[in-house]
């Protein structure tokens, strides 16, 4: 019988993914593609927000969308109806996407003719925050019915986001949602976060969001 050896590894479990994500970010930069990782809880309005965003930006950029879901292709069908290139990624039960899965998606999507790629991550405020996907920027949507205390409950998600969209502000009168308190809670976790209140349904705030996004894309691909 061979002798049992103890091998010191001393490596963060997220390290290999982090390295892979940095590599993907570099590859995307070289192919002049901006990748937005869009995260939120289920039902916050990701697909509706994305559809409106596409309408606002599709004359300016060549857009491609990757819809990540545990199963089904309902979101991909909605996005395909906007006329932009879209694919469905099935995570096979997994609660998040990592850099390697994102790379496979990027390959399938094909980014030679895409300036602005969107990864619609799995609806979840915990796991996607732990795994860097290699995106250029991270965005998340918090909707009014979810409550203004969410930044305190899911600190990691809010701390890794470059921009937080507060969606469904049209229903604010019907909920105990304190917008100022919400902003304060977000900035407490992440002083650099850009916060934009929107309503994807009525279009309120969508121009500010599209302008912010457009500036980020231009910075990254030009």
């Amino acid at each position: 019988m061979d002798n049992v050896r103890v091998i010191e590894v001393k490596r963060s479990i997220f390290e290999s993914n982090d390295l892979d994500a940095d590599k993907l970010r570099k590859e995307l930069k070289e192919s002049k593609t901006f990748l937005l990782n869009l995260m939120s809880s289920p039902g916050s309005g990701k697909t509706t927000t994305l559809t409106r965003t596409i309408e606002l930006l599709k004359d300016k950029y060549r857009i491609g969308v990757m819809e990540a879901d545990i199963d089904s292709d309902v979101d991909a069908k909605t996005i395909a109806a906007t006329g932009v290139k879209s694919i469905q990624l099935h995570t096979g039960g997994m609660c998040h996407l990592d850099a390697d899965m994102t790379r496979q998606g990027i390959k399938e999507l094909g980014v030679e003719d895409v300036d602005f790629a969107v990864l619609e991550n799995v609806g979840n405020l915990v796991c996607p925050a732990e795994f860097d996907t290699g995106s250029t920027k991270n965005a998340m949507i918090l909707s009014v019915p979810e409550g203004h205390d969410k930044p305190l409950k899911y600190p990691l998600m809010f701390s890794i986001c470059d921009v937080v969209l507060i969606n469904k502000i049209d229903v604010m009168p019907y909920f105990d949602f304190d917008l100022e308190k919400c902003k304060e809670n977000i900035l407490f976790r992440n002083p650099n976060a850009k916060i934009i209140p929107i309503c994807a349904k009525t279009g309120e705030g969508m121009k500010e969001w599209a302008d912010w996004l457009s500036a980020q894309i231009d910075l990254s691909i030009k």
Binding site: V4, V6, I7, I13, E15, S16, V126, F188
Partner: protein
């Protein structure tokens, strides 16, 4: 579900380590888990059993979890305190200007193998 994804990452990483060190069989894997890392040790070891038994290298191996306590630092009064007990607000001076010093770790420490 999250724990299972993490387990797949550990297996992938260690398969690479195994190849580099010409390992035939892994007997145990020791990981260090911070108190506020968000990973539930019980779920993690259950997911490990399931996933490890699907591989040749890790079959019947044990996952040993070492827990690391979480500590928070207060920027105002410079005190360090137990994160889980007091949360974000400093128990010394009541300040909210605090940050996590340690307790978020999630590391593969070592493996024993032949």
């Amino acid at each position: 579900m999250h724990e299972l994804g993490v387990v797949f990452h550990i297996i992938d990483d260690l398969t690479e380590v195994g190849r580099e060190n010409e390992i035939k069989k892994v007997h145990s894997v020791t990981i260090q888990l911070g108190e506020v890392s968000g990973v539930v040790p019980g779920y993690l070891t259950d997911a490990w059993k399931w996933a490890a038994n699907r591989t040749e290298l890790f079959k019947d191996s044990e996952l040993i979890v070492e827990n690391l306590p979480a500590t928070t630092y207060c920027e105002d009064c410079k005190a360090e305190y137990e994160t889980v007990k007091y949360g974000r607000t400093c128990p010394n001076c009541g300040s909210k200007k605090t940050y996590l010093l340690k307790g978020n770790e999630f590391m593969i420490k070592e493996i024993s193998a032949t």
